[in-house]
Subunit: 302 residues, 2 copies
């Protein structure tokens, strides 16, 4: 079993792009053919539409990119049928050779953190994700159980460091004499990667660092040389390809850049296709993002 | 529809105790009769045992306490069948007149935070919890959507402020010139409660403050006069009834004190009952905790 940092490097190098497709299904935004005959107040209907939609996106992007990121919140919103759709989506993505980062921003203390890690990480877990996003507020002893399970199973975690939302700085930028909170969290992430598999360039503990803070991206690349970055905030949130350039090493590895709405709901913004040809719109948007990252970041060297 | 802060005050006053029973099912710790004939590697078997166990705990405690707190992690660990057991547990608790705080420590940004809030809060949501625990790392604009949904639905949230784990201070105690991070978060919680329903003493935004930090409990009671406290860390984690005294107002309102393992797995520690009479052990442990809090805290004045 290979370490997660290596698996991600291999997959990104093979696809020659750090593009990460976020699976954030919302019923109102689905292409019209998927909503037809389905009631948005019926959880079974909504969950069925989500599953068909996510599988349809996966069918398009599996030959283009290395990783997808289902957002747990939208599936949880649909209750138990939604969770079944999430499980089916993860399983289908893995079947198609994609790595799956589940965006759940989970955490808790001690043995409860271990339960979350056991739930989500690795092919033998209930949900079978390759990686999970994790919140650091509860401290080092809340992140360690995730890192341990991840290391043991060839899985990964991405710890929230500097998030892409406008209000992210309220607590993350709070600074003591040694620097802001986000840098303390970053140093902790780097320390956890000291345990990485011998010879591996990246460890199993990654970091979430938003595209909307280009300067901090470059700063944090220096603080966490052994961490993969998951970069949200590209596209709909305002981050450009040039903004994320600092997230990469000089050879174009080290970061995956998420785009959710800009890819999966591209049919609503691209007149060439419309609702009926929504998968063509997904493909075109994916290719656009791949080209932008290739042209304006070190990912062009992949 | 009544505001959550008022609903909790009414329920705690009626039961005359702030005891909160945590529903943290773990298959290995279940009473032997519930494990009999069930395979711990079969999710359907485990989920069925969890549901029977949690309903059995609820049958005992519904006449004693006002609130239960299912821990999402343990249900998520069992995959989709586990989530169905969680839904059934929440529904059964509400049917028996209990308030349900789902311990999920969720959060995300903007519209995704709103999706989590919509998923979990209120009788019309998919999971129908009365309240949800929420992590603050992502900042003020990540907590606001939860507070808005909670206010609109008579539901509540409990924001992590100072957690009970030994390593909780690594980031929470990081201090700038105005004080530690946890106090900044506490001030934010109090500010959100400025929106509380006219005439209500407590708002819909509560705070998680651990029993293992008695001095901070009292300090934070002063910082957040309009917030309900959810106090973990009592019992198995080392917090005593005297340790949590500072969480209460002088009339015994303002805090609910969680006990999970000490109550639900009491059969393993109390020779009077054993596995076959596990519900009697749950009842005895609940009554013990009620008596301790009555004797050593302002909750005796309820």
């Amino acid at each position: 079993m290979h370490a997660f940092g290596d698996r991600l490097a291999t997959a990104v190098s093979r696809c020659k792009t750090p593009t990460l497709v976020g699976l954030d299904p919302r019923f109102d935004n689905l292409p019209a053919p998927l909503k037809l005959g389905r009631d948005n107040r019926n959880p079974g209907d909504v969950a069925a539409a989500f599953e068909i939609f996510c599988k349809g996106v996966i069918d398009v992007v599996a030959s283009r990119v290395a990783v997808v990121k289902p957002q747990a919140a939208f599936f949880e919103q649909v209750g138990v049928p939604g969770m079944a759709a999430l499980a089916a989506t993860i399983g289908y993505a893995r079947e198609k050779g994609l790595l799956v980062i589940l965006d759940g921003k989970r955490n808790d203390i001690g043995s409860t953190a271990a339960a979350y890690a056991d739930a989500y990480l690795g092919a033998e877990s209930a949900w079978r994700a390759d990686a999970l996003t994790v919140s650091p507020y509860l401290g080092g002893d809340s992140v360690t159980p995730f890192a341990q399970v991840a290391n043991a199973r060839g899985a990964g975690i991405f710890v929230l460091v500097k998030t892409s939302n406008p209000g992210g700085g309220l607590f993350q930028d709070l600074a003591d004499s040694e620097g802001p909170l986000y840098r303390h969290v970053a140093s902790h992430v780097e320390a956890l990667n000291a345990d990485r598999v011998s010879g591996s360039r990246f460890g199993s503990v990654g970091a979430v660092v938003g595209a909307t803070y280009p300067e901090q991206l470059a700063e944090l690349r220096g603080v966490m040389p052994h961490a993969w970055f998951l970069v949200p905030g590209y596209g709909a949130q305002g981050g450009s390809a040039a903004d994320v350039a600092g997230a990469f090493d000089s050879d174009g590895l080290g970061a995956v850049v998420n785009n959710s709405r800009g890819i999966i709901f591209a049919h609503a913004k691209d007149d060439r296709f419309g609702d009926d040809r929504w998968q063509d719109a997904v493909d075109a948007a994916t290719l656009d993002m791949i080209a932008s990252l290739r042209d304006s970041t070190p990912a062009g060297r992949l």
